[in-house]
């Protein structure tokens, strides 16, 4: 049995999902799990037809909630590693082996596929702010293209990670406080082909997201031990 599971969280990605799955299939022979987070379109049907395992949570769980569903599934089925990528086609499957190689070399517990050039000016400002507050030295804090080893899966499948909303700073802070080794792997990403980012869509949502994330950073100040570094 394969010990690595590809997890794709998706919401209304019928336009891109078959292409994404085909790309993953071309790059690897790993089993593929799609977590359909309340799509109104045919995302789940298309993914199933393409041979993916499809989970459909009965409630809307958000991007991270969907990913955690995949992590918990992986934990339950004894997968040793999980790679997550977005369903909108911006993450290129050809880089998956690079992410896994970092875990295989035992250089890290969590590998981030980083492509900081993708960020708009506003996003760069936001990342710089988060880097400053948290002391996390990563270029691409919000990348959803990541690989987790067994240790990272066990931690992030836990209750402590359930109330996070995004696969970004909160997850990294939790991983750091658990002393997981996090490494960035430079990759190339395509610019978003359909639709804008879920987060950076309206000023109200952006403001709320920024305030929540800043509060999260400060709330975890002591546990993350920035002072010690």
């Amino acid at each position: 049995m394969q010990d690595t599971l590809i997890v794709i969280p998706a919401k209304n990605e019928a336009a891109t999902i078959s292409g994404v799955i085909a790309e993953v299939r071309a790059a690897t022979s790993l089993p593929l799990l799609l977590v359909d987070d309340g799509s109104a379109d045919d995302t789940a049907k298309i993914a199933r037809a393409a041979g993916a395992i499809v989970l459909t949570p009965p409630l809307h769980l958000g991007a991270w909630g969907a990913i955690q569903t995949g992590l918990r599934y992986a934990l339950e089925r004894d997968y040793r590693r999980v790679v997550t990528l977005d369903a909108d086609g911006q993450h290129e499957a050809r880089w998956i082996p690079d992410l896994l190689a970092v875990l295989d070399g035992d250089a890290a517990d969590l590998a981030i596929g980083a492509f900081p050039e993708r960020g708009s000016a506003a996003r760069q400002v936001a990342w710089a702010l988060f880097r400053r507050i948290t002391g996390l030295g990563f270029e691409d804090l919000t990348s959803g293209f990541r690989a987790y080893n067994a240790k990272a899966i066990a931690l992030l499948a836990g209750e402590e990670a359930t109330l996070l909303d995004y696969q970004d700073v909160g997850v990294l802070l939790l991983a750091r406080s658990a002393k997981l080794r996090i490494v960035e792997v430079p990759v190339k990403m395509r610019l978003r082909t359909t639709g804008p980012s879920r987060i950076f869509s309206s000023w109200w949502v952006v403001t709320k997201y920024m305030l929540e994330t800043v509060l999260l950073c400060f709330a975890h100040w002591n546990r993350t031990g920035r002072q010690r570094t």
Partner: protein, 121 residues
């Protein structure tokens, strides 16, 4: 009428309010509309309301003993602080439930894996 001594009507209203609250809470518990853990708090509230309703002079006495210039404010401050604490605890409870609900939804999704995917892999 002497200032500072409540008249019988006011006393009656206070007592009636406290009593109504106490009875309403007991009825809600009996009908299973209040989980016993929450009910305990409300029984305590009802008891205090009843006590203050029937003996308003008690609050004045405590207020003066604490050096509060306008003793009735003591009742208002205690009530507001109690409500703030209660609301905060409710949010803590909501957080716990939100976590449980999300994890339940995830587990449900994991159990109800689509049948057509079983024959793959």
């Amino acid at each position: 009428m002497i200032p500072g001594t409540p008249n019988t009507v006011a006393l009656g209203i206070g007592a009636a309010l406290g009593l109504t609250l106490a009875v309403a809470i007991l009825v809600l518990i009996r009908r299973d509309h209040l989980y016993i853990r929450q009910a305990l708090w409300w029984v305590a509230v009802a008891a205090v309301a009843l006590a203050v309703g029937v003996f308003p002079a008690g609050m004045d006495y405590v207020g003066r003993a604490l050096g509060i210039l306008y003793p009735p404010m003591l009742a208002a401050v205690i009530a507001i602080v109690a409500m703030l604490i209660k609301i905060l605890l409710q949010d803590v409870a909501i957080t716990r439930q939100e976590r449980q609900i999300r994890r339940l939804a995830q587990e449900l999704a994991m159990r109800a894996e689509s049948p057509s995917s079983k024959d793959i892999s």
